[in-house]
Symmetry: C2
Subunit: 204 residues, 2 copies
């Protein structure tokens, strides 16, 4: 049975419920901190029933990570050679920031995994992710060489974009502890990051 192709309506419904609950629990508590009991409870299933749909805790985790990878990398993919370089990159920054706002649980899921050394997705990091980053880095480097943006290291540029945007999801406890609760910080962050990268990219 292919995990991505449920046979029946019940399977489809319960798989979705499990992955939804698992996203809550894993993103909040990390892999070790998450328990099958809690995932099962949040999904509205008994623990043995949960294990009827997924063979193990780790299988749920891997299914989550791989299933969300496309969503997660989508903003980077849409950087295109045709557009204006600075607009493309700043657009990427703002899309990524919006992802952090809309999908903080997904961001924390990946953050937890990578902080722990990415034991379960290192092959993805070194494979498809590296390929995608290499491709976009080459594109950015081309822009630099053509004098259309400043001469900067594209890899560290991408790292800094990941860091600054996901920070608002992954470390929201700290952000809210210092700025106070609420959702408005994203607007200010967008303005700041626009300034930061617009200036960094300006040629000359």
């Amino acid at each position: 049975m292919d995990a991505a192709a449920p046979r029946t309506r019940i399977q489809e419904k319960n798989r979705k419920a499990i992955l939804g609950a698992a996203l809550n629990v894993f993103s909040e508590a990390g892999f070790r901190g998450a328990t099958l009991d809690r995932i099962a409870a949040e999904a509205g299933l008994s623990k043995p029933n949960l294990l009827y749909y997924f063979p193990s805790k780790e299988a749920i985790h891997v299914a989550l990570l791989t299933g969300l990878l496309d969503l997660w990398l989508d903003p980077l993919r849409t950087i295109e050679p045709a557009g204006d370089p600075a607009d493309e990159i700043v657009g990427y920054v703002l899309r990524k920031l919006d992802m952090a706002r809309q999908f903080p649980r997904e961001s924390k899921l990946f953050a937890n995994e990578i902080v722990q050394g990415a034991p379960r997705i290192m092959d993805i990091v070194e494979g498809p992710l590296k390929s995608l980053v290499d491709e976009k880095a080459a594109l950015i480097r081309g822009w630099s060489a053509a004098g259309r943006i400043a001469d900067i290291d594209p890899y560290h540029l991408i790292f800094s974009i990941w860091a600054t945007t996901q920070h608002y999801a992954d470390f929201d406890a700290q952000v809210h502890g210092i700025l106070g609760p609420g959702d408005g910080h994203f607007t200010d962050a967008a303005q700041f990051l626009d300034h930061l990268y617009r200036r960094a990219l300006a040629p000359g």
Copy 2:
């Protein structure tokens, strides 16, 4: 008995061994993933002996975090009103990056804690940390108002500095998965971040 004031030489030695081992284990596995057995083994003690020095797993964790807080916030403290604004801030960036290089375990320790919602240090975040950030934010805002640096949000500036620098410690698995192993990335990162912040801060 004050935890910070060991009475005997044996206590001093063993406390240090425990905190050193705990730093290894907690930073690598997170709070839930760390086990007393492993900490005790790495410290060269039996588990009951370890619990003779600290009353609980959580006590070790809190002792670690609070004990490392000063080290961790030191670079921010050294931003001074007297110096050249841009030099002060860029200097802070580079000091922070150097901290990530020299103390990656400490960085991961805090990262793990904050990603999980900072349950054990929220009072520090909302207290001393917020105070320090407020103070430095006011200083930076003053520089902006005086036209000595660009007009930017000082809080998000500080967040971005934390994010970009600690990224190289916290997510080193990803950085190395994409750039390959080795220590040389820090040099490139320093150059990139110098460019990034130097430009962002330039007045006008």
